[in-house]
């Protein structure tokens, strides 16, 4: 349970980190809090020649509200969000998600950017932030680009990150005063990776709904216009109008053949809807 030997660099700034990453030709791995990479290194599932530790880079520790959105540096930890050390534009939604990620000792080091980069389908942020309509900025020596969370997550542990690119920041839009939020997950043991995730952002006043069905062993199902799950329109009575049969069909179409699995996912999604309506 010890990692294979690796070289270690602690770049002094983001540019230095990007240069090291570019020069490594794919033999290097970025580490921040190491709460996903650490176990994989220890299990020798990953054996990089070089570890580039970005955990000290102050450029990636920002949390500012500007232009109606919260910009979080990639190094902001789950505990930073849980404790409210970062501004909250989601009216408690992100704090509640953060507070239920793994365990406190993990949240004290695990970062939002690291969790997204790892792109584990069972992790919380890829589902929660997709439902909240967040975007992220990726940076390499060549420059920066911005994309939605749903575009970023390509598959299980597969992201849109290209060689030489790292997650720089996450942009979370302000949750409107009329938008309801619901988030539910099923874990066989508290704190472990979820077996099903449901995340909903429903605004009856604006008649809009974003729904995410996550932890399905691949990129989450993100329904940016989810009216179809609620009888075709979003109104104040959306809880009663939630159609489990449609949700089941969506899952079946996404390739989930196991009826029991679909049942769990639908049940968890229903809980998220109920929480939003509560």
């Amino acid at each position: 349970m010890k990692p294979a030997p690796f070289a270690y660099e602690r770049p002094r700034d983001l540019d230095a980190a990007l240069s090291m990453l570019a020069a490594s030709n794919g033999s290097a791995k970025i580490i921040a809090g190491g709460q996903s990479l650490g176990p994989m290194l220890n299990l020798r599932l990953v054996q990089p020649e070089l570890i580039i530790d970005i955990s000290g880079l102050t450029e990636l520790k920002r949390a500012d509200v500007s232009g109606g959105e919260l910009v979080l540096g990639a190094l902001v930890t789950h505990a930073d969000i849980e404790d409210g050390r970062t501004a909250d534009v989601t009216r408690g939604a992100m704090r509640a998600v953060a507070a239920n990620i793994a365990y406190r000792a993990v949240r004290n080091r695990g970062t939002i950017g690291g969790s997204l980069s790892h792109a584990d389908p069972a992790a919380d942020w890829i589902s929660a932030l997709a439902a909240l309509g967040a975007r992220m900025t990726l940076r390499s020596c060549a420059g920066a680009r911005t994309m939605t969370i749903e575009a970023f997550v390509v598959g299980a542990l597969e992201s849109a990150l290209q060689a030489g690119e790292i997650v720089e920041s996450i942009h979370v839009p302000t949750r409107s005063a009329s938008a309801h939020w619901g988030y539910a997950k099923s874990c066989r043991k508290t704190g472990e990776f979820a077996h099903a995730i449901g995340a909903v952002l429903i605004d009856p006043a604006a008649a809009t709904a974003r729904v995410v069905i996550g932890a399905i062993d691949t990129a989450p199902i993100v329904l940016t216009d989810a009216a179809g799950l609620f009888g075709g329109r979003i109104a104040a009575d959306y809880k009663e109008r939630f159609d489990a049969g449609i949700a089941d069909a969506v899952l079946a179409k996404a390739g989930i053949d196991d009826v029991v699995q679909r049942h769990i996912h639908v049940g968890v999604l229903k809980r998220a809807v109920q929480e939003a309506a509560a």
Binding site: G33, N42, L43, A63, G73, R104, A105, N108, R109, T111
Partner: protein, 395 residues
Amino acid sequence: MTTIALNVNKQAVELSAEPRTCLADFVRDKLDLTGTHLGCEHGVCGACTVLLDGVPVRSCITYAVACEGADITTIEGLDEDEVTTELRAAFTREHALQCGYCTPGMLVSARDLVLRLPDADERRIRVGLSGNLCRCTGYVGIVRAVQSVIEARRARSIAPLTNGGRTGLGPAGSGRAAADRSEPQPARQSPVPARESIAPGSIADFTPATVLDQGFTLAHPPAKVFAMFDDVAGIAACLPGVSLTSPPRPERVEGLIRVRLGPIAASFEGAARVERDPATLSGRIVGIGTDQRSHSATQGEIRYCLLPLEGGAATAVELSIGYTLTGTLAQVGRPGLVRDLARRLVADFAANLDRHMSGVPSGPKTSAELSVWSIVSDVLRARIARVLGRRSGAG
């Protein structure tokens, strides 16, 4: 190998280690701080939980090199911590451990809950401890212990930690490396400052973890014995394993005590102060010492009181020996063995004292280390005596 400089239990440490060395292996293998336990080694079981810049982290998936400049507190560093002290008492009371493997990590996590969540109910405590696995207790005693400490502190209106105990953003322990480390510094292999010099007057009173009462009699009048007790050098010569390193003064006696218990040997170097009260023919010696080899430290106190026997012709010396041991040697959780060791040391001391006062030169064994063989033969002799006694009782 990389040179890693960080602070462990408030001591600056600079050691070389491979980048792949996790923080748990670093403190265990290089600093002998083996209270940090490794269970799963991939972040699930929580046995390795330590404090990094004041907050709990997994030391099995945190690499030591990533903690450059940071403050690490292991379970050994929480000996004097107020909350941990309360938790230890509660864990004992509620039978919150059996084998103890999970306990160091459990205490670190429980301490964090106590500090952050003053309103936690049983459910929140269970969720809060879900990252620390225990395979002995079924958690009932652990949850009760933590709950009782939270409730006791709530009753005392102690406010929770603000901001979760953190000020900046980012991973705990990150960003503490010196901004520009010009070139790699030469590796130094001295984990503990070469010699913790004990400042004069710093021999503080303490509450001993263990107190042993012993006594012996001397065929000399109390006044003579009390005068003898004022001769620090003479007394030191009678104490098995003790040697002085500088001329003694009552307020400061510097010396060395060699102790051996079976294969365990320690040499505590330190200082003591001596107090006496002629009115009551009593006194005490308070001392502190460290054993460099095992990174162990001890505080000790000997209280004595002299009572006249046989109309003042002889003296009963009543001793109360108190001590607290920390570090590797504190893991010898066998107070019975230590009590037995103390009993034999005191018997030797009494015999030496008697010879010294009677003007008989000390025998060769007097200031020798106690060997395992003498313990074995003593035990055998005691057993034979018991068997013979039983026989004679039966017959």
